[in-house]
């Protein structure tokens, strides 16, 4: 009897982790630049700015939010890349 689990284990764990963390980081950085070239935090969140939240905080939180979002997408991609045969 032969197993129908394909031999794809050559993708090391570290490569999978990096494939989730790193492309999402790059994409979040690019999205961040495009977003804030067009809008300033003053325009985007005037109420928040008026309460004394610093630009630095808005930029940082936005970046982390974008990274979390893209990271989620990358993680799902990685999950769906699992061979279908593994589900049985």
């Amino acid at each position: 009897m032969t197993s129908n689990i394909p031999d794809n284990d050559e993708v090391p764990l570290i490569q999978r982790i990096i494939a989730i963390l790193w492309p999402s980081f790059l994409a979040a950085g690019a999205a961040m630049i495009l977003l804030f070239v067009v809008f300033s935090p003053d325009e985007l969140l005037p109420e928040l700015r008026a309460t004394g939240v610093s630009n630095m905080a808005i930029y940082s939180v936005t970046f982390i939010f974008l990274w979390a979002t893209t990271l989620f997408a990358c993680a799902l991609s990685c999950y769906f890349m699992r061979p279908c045969s593994r589900c049985n």
Binding site: M1, P12, I14, V37, Y59
Partner: protein, 469 residues
């Protein structure tokens, strides 16, 4: 159908085989390429750590990516968000320069200039200071945990962490004035986000240069994946001369070369020296970062054996097969041509750029209000950026809303060179003129002494929503 227990176990074992990484302890080498790399490490990291401390004029940090205030200082030049095109152009020019270098010299960038390489080099240096040479490092790794191991490994990590924190601090110093930041360190009163990013970058440095090392090149680097498309048979690569070296074999020193063997004595030093753990004698591999450590290692051996140098060397496929070196070839001309064209375009654009920028924002507190004469009024603030090298007065005008009037708070707004001023203006329209909840208008500022110095932006004149229900 079910698998037997043994088969199941075998498969599980197989599942957990994540191609476990062998630790690499690169052997220290001495030679011309190692010296070049040290020079490049000093140069690139020297620039990195010193640059933010340099001022350009009084109180102006020469290089400051002042993101909170949305402006980049680059020596005398100040770039604003609307100058993104120049930053993109610089990126494109850098990419094309990389293509050109790669076509001619292979992965020179990887071996001598990439931050991953230069920081790893420093981390390796610290590692050797604490743990000694490669054999000692391997011995230490196998040793059970004892006093000596704890001191050596602990010392190394402390040095790595301190160096990483300094790196993180410097990094944040490119975005927040570094002298202010430095003054805040003793009292630990940096902003929370400055603190966060210092530790974030320090952690990235520590992880990448201390732990991940060659895995960054292999798994994270996009350039490593596609650089081969810029290669051809005339690209300089680091190659082992198989015709000369094979068949390999050990031999006694000082004796005549055995007739049945090539020049490679199979000492394995080229493999031990390799920071990515490959054997260059297996031919070109994408893990090779062209650091030339194997060349340095092999040259020493060739010298000791009294053999000719160059068993492993920078060469091209064509040179290797006796067809000679061809540096100048169509690919090189094409890359150079595109590079020159884009550089010239960017320079021309920089020279003809209109150094004034206008951003229009609404008054934060009121969407609209009634003016004394019964008209509807919106308040806008024009952020006028005078990017010219002298002061100007600006007048504000409006287009796009027939019959409405613009009423600036002052007739003229004065802005020094490099200054950003706020020009509040009221836009008024009679109720009968307003046909939409939101009317597009265009607000513009023009220098009084030079009509070419002008810029504007669209804005929206807002009326109460219940007028249109």
């Amino acid at each position: 159908m079910s698998m037997s227990d043994d088969e199941l176990r075998a498969n599980q074992d197989h599942d957990s085989l994540y191609a476990k990484r062998e630790n690499i302890y690169p052997r220290e080498v001495h030679g011309i390429f190692a010296r070049w790399r040290i020079i490049m490490v000093m140069l690139t990291l020297g620039i990195y750590y010193i640059l933010p401390w340099i001022n350009w004029g009084v109180g102006r940090q020469a290089i400051l990516f002042d993101i909170p205030n949305r402006k980049f200082n680059i020596f005398a030049l100040t770039l604003w968000p609307q100058d993104l095109i120049y930053l993109s152009a610089i990126l494109i020019i850098s990419a094309l320069a990389l293509f050109l270098f790669t076509a001619v010299g292979g992965r020179l960038w990887c071996g001598y200039a990439c931050p991953q390489t230069v920081w790893t080099e420093v981390f390796l240096w610290m590692e050797r200071k604490f743990e000694g040479s490669r054999p000692k490092q391997i011995k230490l790794a196998k040793m059970p945990w004892n006093r000596e191991k704890i001191i050596k490994k602990g010392g190394k990590h402390v040095a790595w962490v301190v160096f990483s924190l300094w790196t993180g601090f410097t990094f944040v110093g490119y975005f927040t004035p570094i002298r202010d930041l430095w003054a805040q360190i003793p009292g630990w009163n940096m902003g929370p986000w400055e603190t966060f990013w210092i530790f974030f970058y320090a952690f990235a440095t520590y992880g990448n240069a201390g732990w991940l090392r060659e895995q960054v090149c292999i798994y994270m680097c996009p350039y490593a994946r596609f650089q081969s498309v810029m290669f051809d048979d005339n690209t300089l690569t680091i190659s082992y001369d198989e015709n000369r070296g094979d068949p390999r074999g050990t031999r006694k020193r000082g004796k005549d070369k055995p007739a049945d063997k090539g020049d490679c004595i199979d000492c394995g030093l080229c493999v031990q020296a390799c920071p990515t753990g490959i054997d260059i004698r297996n031919g070109m591999q994408y893990q090779c970062i062209a650091c030339a450590a194997c060349i340095d290692a092999c040259e020493e051996v060739m010298d000791k054996m009294d053999y000719d140098p160059g068993l492993i060397r920078y060469t091209t496929l064509n040179e290797m097969s006796g067809k000679g070196l061809h540096i100048f070839r169509p690919r090189v001309f094409v890359y150079t041509g595109i590079l020159l064209a884009i550089t010239l375009l960017m320079l021309a654009s920089l020279l003809t750029r209109i150094p004034v920028g206008v951003d229009v924002t609404r008054d934060r507190n009121i969407l609209y209000r009634e003016a004394p004469n019964g008209d509807l009024e919106n308040v806008f603030v024009l952020k006028i950026m005078n990017q010219d090298n002298k002061a100007h007065n600006f007048v504000v005008s409006m287009e796009g809303f027939e019959g409405a009037v613009v009423d600036p708070e002052q007739p003229e707004f004065h802005a020094e060179s490099g200054e950003v001023i706020e020009a509040p203006v009221r836009v008024r329209a009679a109720e009968k003129l307003i046909t939409e909840r939101s009317t597009k208008i265009h607000l513009r500022a023009t220098a009084t002494d030079d009509p070419k110095l002008t810029d504007g932006e669209d804005a929206r004149f807002i009326a109460p929503g219940d007028w249109f229900n």
